[in-house]
């Protein structure tokens, strides 16, 4: 019995600009109704598909449970559509033909839970390692972290995607997974005719470690450590989203000073990422001094992090209930000074970059991700915003202290490398602005509240706008406070699905590194 279809008005109210209400709402639908519910949600303005994952609930509820998470931006709310599937035949009609951005999520579901999205356009595995025996599915409840992987001695012999043989004159470049420079591992296949790239295939998941499985059975003390290490350069954002999910699950109210400081640290993380991004982009275009200048700024931020948090990447700072340590007052002065100098430096360097023809000429018109493709394939964060997807969790679903600060969200609609570059440059300035407001308005007080797991356990959804975009974390806790199931959907998992669309079409081979750096995505975030 589908709750939504029987009350059509409620869905519109739920999704419209509404008054107060819970930040996330759960509802149930049947497998047969899921496609029509999806269709209705897609027709509503401001509604975006966010995540799709499954949980083995055979022990607790005698079924597999599918969760489809939607962002209702106008209402500042999330909707979790739960679908229970029978334990003996878990399948449902695939959403991908209707919703291309669900593609990878459903393949992951099939690999790791043996739930079949019927009529999914792709029958290939997303990230099952080659050596795994048939019938072993990572998220089946009977497998634990230590029991899940008796190896059968086979090591992965590359399962590279085989493109159909090209006509004469087409040159194929297989790049990776070991690639040039100090970069993450992943595989690209490029095909060119002359200089022009005509086809591109992506193969990720060489770095699949099983982060979500690792979290199962861990307690509140250790769970944030896992979240931080999904994608280390967005460690603070991920641990923040996870801690917020735990706080929701446990009904814990975080003290105001913790919310404020979390906002500050989240922006410090965004700053060092965006500065490093500019350095990487300068490296791609060959602007060596520009690269060095931004590396200097990034290093200053990392050293500030080490002073404030004892860790250059802000690991170990977020705990359920708030923060593990406070900032002594004198450090606020240090932060203010650094932000002021940074503002001045970024203004000057930003202008110099824009005036450097050798840099911007390589960005204009390169690697265009069209707005309609960005929408269809669920691009988020600065990558989406450079292609007209005007969404930012800090503004649309405020969390931590973002409700109390003033900032703009830069958006462009061209979707080329220059737009991606400009959005992140503007975001640096907005981050500084947010951080300064926090430093000026933060009040003394505790930074950590008690957290107790409810007697019956709990579930919670947490979110954060990481430097690369919308990151979602969902946790199901047992009554003893250990994790039953952890779901992490970093921004890069969404963005990588859109990446291939920006490659073919008026880009030449030497544009490829520029396009790749202009996206600035995380492999670890996608592979987990």
């Amino acid at each position: 019995m589908s709750l939504i279809l029987s009350i059509p008005e409620d869905l519109a109210t739920l999704a419209g600009p509404a008054g107060p209400g819970p930040a996330s709402v759960t509802t149930a639908a049947s497998a047969e109704d899921l496609l029509s519910v999806t269709q209705r949600l897609l027709e509503m303005p401001g509604v975006h598909f966010a995540d799709l994952f499954g949980v083995d609930e055979r022990q607790r509820h005698g079924c597999f449970r599918l969760h489809v998470i939607w962002a209702l931006d106008r209402a500042g709310r999330w909707l979790d559509v739960e679908v229970d599937l029978p334990a003996n035949r878990p399948q449902y009609p695939s959403l991908t033909p209707l919703l291309p951005s669900a593609g990878w999520y459903e393949r992951e579901l099939r690999d790791e839970l043996d739930v079949e999205p019927v009529d999914h356009p792709s029958s290939s595995s997303l990230r099952r390692p080659a050596g795994w025996p048939r019938g072993r599915h990572l998220f089946h409840g009977e497998l634990t972290w230590s029991s899940a992987g008796e190896r059968n001695g086979q090591t992965d012999d590359d399962e590279l995607p085989l493109l159909p043989a090209g006509p004469e004159g087409v040159v194929e470049y297989p790049l990776g997974p070991v690639r040039s420079g100090v970069v993450e591992s992943g595989h690209y296949t490029l095909r060119t005719v002359g200089e022009e790239i005509i086809d591109f295939r992506l193969q990720l998941f060489y770095k699949h470690r099983g982060v979500e499985k690792r979290a199962e059975g861990l307690g509140l003390l250790h769970l944030p450590l896992v979240a931080e290490r999904i994608s280390g350069t967005s460690g603070f954002a991920h641990s923040l989203a996870l801690c917020q999910a735990i706080e929701t699950a446990c009904g814990c109210e975080v003290p105001p000073r913790a919310d404020c400081l979390r906002t500050l640290f989240a922006e410090l993380e965004r700053l060092y990422n965006h500065l490093g991004y500019q350095a990487d982009l300068c490296q791609a275009t060959g602007l060596a001094v520009g690269q060095a200048q931004f590396e200097i700024l990034k290093e200053r931020l990392l050293r500030l992090n080490a002073e404030l948090a004892g860790h250059r990447y802000l690991f170990g700072l977020n705990v359920p209930g708030g923060l593990s340590r406070d900032l002594p007052g004198r450090q606020l002065t240090d932060i203010r000074r650094l932000l002021h100098e940074l503002q001045r430096d970024v203004d000057v360097l930003g202008r110099m970059l824009v005036d450097s023809a050798s840099h911007v000429d390589r960005l204009h018109g390169t690697g265009i991700l069209r707005p309609e493709d960005a929408q269809a394939f669920g691009a988020v964060g600065p990558i989406g915003r450079a292609s007209g997807v005007n969404r930012d969790l800090r503004r649309d679903h405020p969390y931590a202290g973002y409700g109390a600060v003033d900032f703009a969200v830069p958006v462009r609609d061209g979707g080329d490398a220059f737009d991606r570059f400009e959005v992140r440059l503007e975001e640096i300035k907005e981050s500084i602005r947010i951080a300064e407001q926090v430093v000026d308005t933060v009040k003394p007080g505790p930074v950590r509240a008690e957290v107790t797991t409810p007697a019956e356990g709990g579930v919670g959804l947490g979110w954060a706008e990481s430097p690369r975009g919308e990151s979602l974390h969902w946790i199901a806790l047992r009554p003893d406070g250990t994790a039953y199931r952890y779901r992490a959907r970093p921004a890069s998992f969404a963005n990588w699905q859109a990446f291939p669309l920006a490659i073919p079409g008026h880009n030449i081979l030497t544009d490829f590194p520029v396009i790749e750096q202009s996206f600035g995505l995380s492999f670890a975030g996608a592979d987990r």
């Binding site: 497998l143 100090v182 591992s185 470690r209 250790h222 290490r229 460690g235 948090a309 592979d527």
Partner: protein, 265 residues
């Protein structure tokens, strides 16, 4: 416009550290490594530690620096404090496992009494590479924090090139294989092929807690518990991630220009 970049660069001046010629210090609260008092502290630490780096064991107890992910949770126990140390690299995995409360080993490497020939070969290789070395990095499943620190090595603050160390993209030109990540199943094959493509003599270095011991992912179904399960390792650089200073110390230990430190850093 190119001229203004030149002026900007010159005006910025020289920011480069002179480490190891001069000593460097990390900030006081920096979570470098735990210092554990013998007794009840070890038991409490073992409870708190997420990776089994602290083990209470009959007589004393052990701290495995190779498993430490620098989370700092152990410092909640009385008798455990964190020190901002960064010179943690060792040439042998066993040297990372320190008995709690034992006397420091004095900072020099003991000769390998079991296999004097191996020690001699090691020293010869180090003499070959001590002046200039080309490094091939492979990411075998890191979270990317290690790569971020490795990239900072060529930034003006650290300038790896002043030490005669360079990154190269081709394994054929490389002398040292630098590996981050626990070694996922999927990367084992490409990693081995990269190693085999490197001509002898060559060195292999494990960077970060994941490569040293599997870190937080040890014992799991999709990764190895560190690089040693896949390749012979010449040096281990602990940290999560190891800071650029730790990386410099570790690389210099690998090529014999620095000796590994004793157990109380």
């Amino acid at each position: 416009m190119q001229l203004s970049w030149l002026f900007r660069g010159v005006r910025t001046g020289i920011l480069t550290t002179r480490y190891p010629a001069t000593q460097e210090r990390l900030p006081d609260g920096f979570r470098g490594r735990p210092a554990i008092a013998a007794g009840a502290a070890v038991v409490a630490g073992e409870e708190l530690c997420p990776t089994g780096a602290i083990r209470a064991d009959n007589s004393h107890g052990f701290l495995d620096v190779g498993r430490c992910i620098q989370c700092g949770l152990c410092s909640q126990a009385d008798g455990i404090e964190l020190r901002p140390a960064f010179e943690l690299a060792q040439r042998r995995r066993s040297a990372l496992i320190e008995p709690v409360g034992a006397a420091p080993s004095g900072g020099t490497e003991e000769p390998s009494v079991l296999d004097p020939a191996a020690g001699e070969l090691q020293r010869m290789v180090q003499r070959l590479f001590s002046r200039s070395l080309h490094i091939r990095h492979v990411d075998a499943g890191s979270c990317n924090a290690c790569e971020s620190e490795l990239k900072q090595l060529t930034s003006p603050y650290y300038d790896l090139h002043r030490l005669g160390l360079f990154f190269t993209t081709s394994p054929r030109h490389a002398d040292l294989l630098l590996v981050t990540g626990p070694v996922t199943q999927a990367m084992e094959g490409p990693l081995r092929r990269t190693y085999e493509a490197m001509p002898d003599p060559k060195l292999v270095v494990a960077v970060g807690a994941c490569a040293c011991s599997g870190g937080l992912f040890a014992g799991g179904p999709l990764t190895h518990a560190g690089l040693e399960e896949v390749l012979p390792v010449d040096a281990f650089i602990p940290g999560c991630p190891p800071s650029p200073l730790a990386l410099i110390q570790g690389l210099l230990v690998a090529i014999g220009r620095l000796d590994p430190r004793g157990s109380t850093a």
